[in-house]
């Protein structure tokens, strides 16, 4: 950084040369950014190349279906969409319960392309939305980090983010989920906040509100923003960093942002009524008080000010106490203390497992393990502390924000493995700063100790190892030069401040040069080590993208001695349902397969991955854990015609319904007390072998999974549980098998039609029906929580069987969503 400054000051003839170099640097950094975008996009295409261009997993299928609806029927129909093909017979108001950001984004892209007569299908657009937005996210990271620590750090952070595995896991091509666009929105909102903080421009403040609006549209994680920014504002105020720029960065965001957020149907009045948003309002009041104080301080003499302070404090305290009391009373009066279940489980990690089994049942809501940190952010985990230190040298408003961001996201990622995604950008930014600063120090000391070289570098573009670094520095200069030439009044203040910050720092750097210089050998070796570290990171990221996170989970492959095997059973079953059942038939399955059934088979389902009605899920769980006749009655009362079970016993697919059965019993038993978990347990374990309890061997799930299973090998050996099944020969009386896929992974049964009533038996069956209906009436009141964010959980293969001691966790299995 010092070299160009010195040259421009010392030799005026070099001025032209220097502007040329600045321009060259600008172009270079532009192309580097372009390449970073290409990298971010193309590293996510492994799934398309290795598998195919297809939507992945569970939630993306729902988003895909919503997008299809949007492109077909238009935006107004979309807002009013009542979906009667799910949660039968309740239905679901999609328009009012879905975060529309992702859908609207993809819908807009599709519309734009089609209006240019580029006939891409909705599916193609959906598949590639995530990689495109990853490129945007890495550019947003560049902008954010540039605001904090200059263009060099910005480029480093951008390249780190482009391939951070944690983010790749959510944004490979085909992973069409909210997080794909939300991370971009998150980083971009933070960038605009920092930009406003640095410039004090109302223009950026407005943009910031709009970016925040986009974030609210996209993901429930927007509460992170609306809590983190107030925290930072509070931090600034407390540390005496209050300025009018801070006020402009914050006040418009709260007012405009809250108004805009309330426009999103799924948020609505929650934007002012739930506790997640209260912190921002509290800080909003505080910043006004502080602003008033600063204003009064400005117009009063110090003596008068002291008097005023004592006056105001005594009066203000009273008012504050009253307001706080009212707030606390309001919060306390709501049943969950105003916090939604998921937010509460963020604050109290044990909350979910204690109270909401359905949240606990999703593996991505578990706390992460240590290896998952290494898997997901890799070497960044070691660079983060260095980056935090670099942020304190010197501490600015922007760098304090980064420190706060990393600190809070580390906490949240520790609570819920899914939130590792929020940590990833923070880790990339701090690591980018750390790497860039380290390179800066090492190259400077090398240059300082090689006098021949140092004189050369003043003219030359720089030595090879630090070429990019130089270019990055140049980029800053170019921008500055451009600003000077334009001389925009709005940027003046910002520029002044920049110079204010940078001038002394460069001066002191020049003075400290001698002190900071490291031994030549040490710096060369350190540089090499850093390069190795970076190389290791790249290798790991590419491996993670290619091997760990690219499996679409609806089509599985396995390598064996005789080549590649493809297990396409899920789509086989869904295609069968789609073409060979009536369009209005109802299909019951465990909720995991709800989204896929509605999207791929186009059939009505009873429950799906939007787990908004626990009672309904419990009804299905109860039916699955009941004996055949009771189950038939429950399903018949729900108009179900087909039942779909996933069974991995033949090929050893570990995340099948038998392994999820624990949760069916637990969730079912939570609502319908006649299902008792101990009835299914032998010595505290779920077993399906000869030691299994009679309740287990007679429940519907067992029967549907193992019906005719013994015909495959003569013994009935289950390859997931690694045991012979307990009951081998049995017949189904109320269900008939209509379809079983190639590898037996999906089995579809049909409810047999009701038998003709025989006079003598009428009474008996009647009493049975009435008992079920009365038990239904006694269901607990519905309680509702937002949609369980779905998505992939590849690295974190919790295995129910390992927990329960059924069998060792099978690692060859596909990613598991539910444990």
């Amino acid at each position: 950084m010092a070299a160009p400054e010195a040259s421009s000051a010392a030799v005026p003839t070099l001025m032209t040369n220097n502007t040329l170099r600045n321009a060259f640097g600008g172009v270079l950094s532009f192309f580097i950014l372009l390449l970073i975008g290409v990298l971010a996009f193309s590293i996510r295409l492994f799934s398309v190349i290795k598998y195919e261009s297809v939507i992945h997993e569970f939630d993306p299928y729902f988003n895909y279906r919503v997008t299809q609806f949007l492109t077909k029927n238009g935006i107004y129909e979309f807002w009013n969409w009542f979906d009667d093909r799910t949660w039968y017979p309740l239905g679901r108001v999609i328009g009012g319960t879905v975060y529309p950001g992702l859908t609207l984004t993809a819908g807009t892209i599709w519309w734009l392309l089609n209006s240019l007569n580029i006939p891409l299908s909705v599916e193609t657009v959906c598949v590639f939305t995530a990689p495109i937005f990853s490129a945007f996210a890495s550019w947003a990271t560049y902008l954010l980090t540039k605001e904090v620590k200059g263009a060099g750090a910005g480029l480093t952070a951008a390249v780190l983010l482009a391939m951070v595995p944690s983010y790749i896991s959510r944004s490979v091509a085909g992973s069409y989920d909210n997080e794909a666009v939300a991370i971009f929105a998150l980083i971009f909102t933070f960038y605009l906040y920092i930009k406003t903080l640095n410039t004090g421009s109302l223009f950026y403040a407005t943009l910031n509100s709009i970016a925040y609006f986009y974030m609210v549209c996209s993901w429930g994680g927007y509460t992170f923003i609306i809590n983190l920014i107030p925290m930072h504002v509070l931090l600034c105020i407390v540390t005496g960093r209050y300025s009018s720029r801070l006020y402009i960065a914050y006040a418009p965001l709260v007012v405009l942002g809250t108004l805009l957020a309330a426009l999103v149907p799924v948020v609505g009045f929650n934007a002012v009524m739930t506790s997640e948003h209260f912190a921002s309002f509290l800080v909003f009041i505080i910043i006004h008080v502080v602003a008033l104080v600063y204003y009064i301080k400005g117009i009063l003499s110090p003596k008068m000010f002291k008097v005023a302070v004592t006056l105001v404090i005594s009066a203000g305290l009273a008012v504050c106490c009253a307001v706080i009391a009212v707030l606390i009373a309001l919060v306390a009066s709501s049943p969950t203390k105003g916090w939604s279940g998921r937010s509460l489980s963020l604050l109290d990690p044990t909350y979910a497992s204690k109270y909401i089994p359905i949240i606990a049942s999703v593996s991505e809501h578990q706390p992460p393990t240590w290896p998952s940190y290494f898997m997901d952010i890799n070497v960044l985990a070691f660079l983060v502390p260095a980056g935090i230190i670099a942020c304190f040298l010197p501490l600015s408003d922007a760098s304090s924000f980064v420190v706060l961001y990393i600190a809070t996201s580390v906490y949240f990622s520790g609570v819920m493995v899914r939130l590792m995604l929020v940590l990833a950008p923070a880790a990339c930014i701090t690591s980018g700063i750390a790497l860039s600063q380290a390179f800066d120090v090492f190259t400077r000391s090398i240059k300082f100790q090689l006098p021949g070289l140092s004189s050369n570098t003043e003219v030359d573009a720089g030595e090879t190892s630090s070429a990019t670094k130089e270019a990055q520095n140049d980029a800053v200069k170019t921008e500055k030069a451009e600003e000077t030439s334009k001389d925009r009044p709005s940027r003046k203040s910002k520029k002044k401040e920049r110079e204010h910050v940078e001038k002394p720092s460069t001066k002191t750097k020049a003075e400290k040069k001698r002190l900071l210089a490291l031994p030549l050998e040490a710096s060369v070796i350190s540089l090499l080590l850093l390069v190795f570290l970076g190389a290791f990171y790249v290798v790991h990221c590419v491996w993670a993208a290619a091997e760990a996170y690219s499996a679409p989970s609806i089509v599985l492959t396995s390598h064996s001695h005789d080549g590649l095997h493809v297990f396409d059973d899920f789509r086989e079953a869904y295609a069968w349902l789609r073409h060979n059942t009536d369009v209005d038939d109802k299909v019951a399955s465990w909720w995991d397969y709800g989204y896929q059934t509605t999207a791929m088979a186009n059939r009505t389902v009873i429950v799906d991955n939007n787990t908004w009605n626990n009672t309904h899920i419990a009804t299905v769980g109860t039916a699955m854990s009941s004996p055949e006749k009771a189950a038939w009655e429950i399903f018949h009362s729900l108009d179900v015609k087909y039942i779909l079970v996933v069974f991995g016993g033949l090929v050893g697919y570990p995340s099948d319904d038998i392994n999820k059965f624990l949760w069916m019993v637990r969730i079912g038993g939570g609502v319908f007390p006649h299902i008792k978990e101990p009835d299914y347990l032998r010595d505290g374990q779920y077993r399906i072998d000869s030691q299994a309890t009679p309740t287990m061997l007679n429940c519907l799930m067992y029967k549907l999974s193992y019906y005719r299973f013994v015909e495959t090998d003569g013994k009935g050996f289950d390859r997931v549980r690694r045991t012979e099944i307990g009951k081998k020969y049995f017949k189904l009386t109320h269900f008939e098998e209509v379809f079983t896929t190639h590898h037996w992974m999906v089995r579809i049964y049909k409810l047999k039609p009701q038998k003709n009533r025989i006079r003598g038996k009428t009474k008996k069956s009647k009493s049975k029906t009435s008992s079920t209906s009365s038990s239904k009436r006694s269901e607990r009141g519905l309680f509702r929580h937002g949609n369980v964010f779905g998505g992939k959980e590849a690295q974190n293969q919790f295995c129910i069987s390992s927990i329960l001691g059924l069998v060792p966790c099978a690692t060859t299995g596909p990613p598991k969503r539910q444990i």
Binding site: E52, S53, V54, L116, N117, I118, P119, K486, D487, R488, P489, I554, V555, V566, D568, R571, E572, Y574, A575, W576, R578, H579, N580, M600, F739, T741, H742
Partner: protein, 451 residues
């Protein structure tokens, strides 16, 4: 079982002869058929009927048309009617293809439908000619029982008449029905009737009046897969940059008895040689079970539906492939080109209920006209594809009841100026140019209000 059928057929017979007397039309009855031999082949699910007619002109004026009659139930399933005139005797026999067209005749009894054969040379008085007629029927075998278990064999009904339906007097006629195996559950007897091996012989019958009809029913075993493509849309897109892109959308159904044993899991599609970038998918993604074998004369694509098709089950899928343009596109004159492509369904041994072929001509082509060897419905559409401004002309050909016999070539002629090929690249180039100009302009314009 045979009793009631016999009664019914007797009734039909009288009814038809009655109708005949009511509706005698003059022109038709100059001709008479001295001998008719019919061979009905029931070995696959496509019914092939070979009819040999010896036509005599008993009138005084020369006749140039011979009319064939079909009962209305057969007309809906009629895939193709071809007629050949035989010339010469014994070994020197040559065949001349004759034109056959559906015609409407007034006073058709019982909605009988007609096809007219146009003779090459008018048949003079007292002369005779031998005509070979081939027609194919689809969906004419009705599974009975309609639902069977996996291991049972499939039995089907075939309904027809023991007598050839004709507006002419037939002096002598015989009908042979060939069944795929010797397993024939039952068949209607219209004496004299013989059964030997896989063949049932009806006749010879002497001197039957026009529109004689005698319903027969054959119940026999037929285990061949009933592969029916309910709807096939083939889109052929021509790009003058050297590629012919074909997309075929199938709606396949197994029309056999419900829940019949596995329908050959493999289907064979015969594609043109030098085929490239083949894909096989459905609306939820790629179907991984397919094999492509290519040699210099043909390409064979072996495909497997996602799930085995049991009787009554359906599946849909799309096959797409690219072909080198020079194999199919030819210049006929200045700027006038034609594309030569196969009609019909590439899948072997399947019936297509409704086939739509869309030939998408390049943007800017004019005066399209299609030449198809048999009657089809034609109309034009416009399609917008990559960056089109005026849209591409699409020649749409539609035909119902397509059988493998229809796999012949058809041509679409159109006029195209090569300069139109450059339209889209130039458009893109100018768009980028304007974008860069706009960027340069933005960087050089000072929009600030205050200096």
């Amino acid at each position: 079982m045979e009793g009631p059928i016999r009664a019914r057929e007797a009734l039909a017979l009288t009814l038809f002869s009655l109708l005949f007397f009511l509706s005698r039309s003059s022109a038709l009855h100059d001709l008479l058929i001295s001998n008719a031999e019919r061979r009905i082949d029931l070995s696959s699910h496509i019914v092939k009927v070979y009819l040999t007619l010896k036509v005599e002109n008993a009138g005084s004026s020369p006749a140039s048309e011979v009319v064939l009659a079909f009962p209305p139930s057969q007309v809906d399933h009629l895939a193709t009617v071809e007629a050949l005139a035989t010339k010469g005797k014994r070994k020197k026999t040559t065949f001349v293809r004759l034109e056959v067209k559906p015609t409407e005749l007034p006073d058709a009894p019982n909605d009988t439908k007609y096809f007219t054969i146009y003779l090459a040379n008018p048949l003079n008085s007292a002369e005779s000619i031998t005509l070979e007629v081939l027609y194919m029927l689809t969906h004419s075998l009705e599974p009975f029982p309609a639902e069977i278990g996996q291991s049972e064999s499939q039995l089907v009904y075939y309904r027809d008449s023991a007598l050839v339906l004709s507006p002419y007097h037939i002096k002598q006629q015989t009908t042979f029905i060939k069944t795929p195996s010797t397993k024939v559950d039952s068949f209607t007897r219209v004496e004299p009737t013989n059964r030997a091996g896989t063949e049932i012989k009806y006749g010879p019958y002497e001197d039957h009046t026009p529109y004689s009809f005698s319903a027969i029913l054959v119940h026999f075993e037929n285990n061949s897969p009933f592969a029916v493509v309910e709807e096939l849309v083939r889109e052929v897109e021509i790009s003058h940059w050297g590629n012919l892109q074909v997309t075929e959308q199938y709606k396949l159904v197994h029309a056999g008895a419900r829940h019949k044993g596995v329908f050959s899991r493999y289907l064979l599609a015969r594609l043109p040689p030098r085929v490239h970038s083949v894909y096989y998918r459905d609306e939820i993604g790629n179907i991984s079970s397919s094999h492509l074998r290519t040699d210099s004369r043909k390409s064979e694509l072996e495909i497997e539906p996602r799930y085995p098709l049991f009787g009554g089950w359906k599946a849909t899928f799309v096959i797409g492939y690219g072909l080198p343009l020079q194999d199919f596109l030819f210049e006929s004159s200045e700027d006038r080109r034609y594309v030569n492509f196969t009609f019909g369904c590439p899948l072997m041994e399947t019936v297509v209920d409704k086939l739509t072929i869309k030939v998408v001509l390049p943007e800017g082509s004019k005066d399209p006209s299609a030449v198809v060897p048999f009657p089809v419905d034609q109309h034009l559409e416009t399609k917008y594809s990559y960056l089109d401004v005026v849209g591409r002309t699409v020649v749409v050909l539609e035909k119902k009841n397509v059988v493998p016999g229809h796999n012949s070539h058809f041509q679409v002629y159109y006029t195209f100026k090569p300069i139109f090929m450059l339209a889209e690249p130039l458009m893109l180039a100018s768009a980028f140019f304007l974008f860069f100009v706009a960027c340069i302009a933005y960087l050089h314009i000072d929009l600030s209000i205050r200096k």
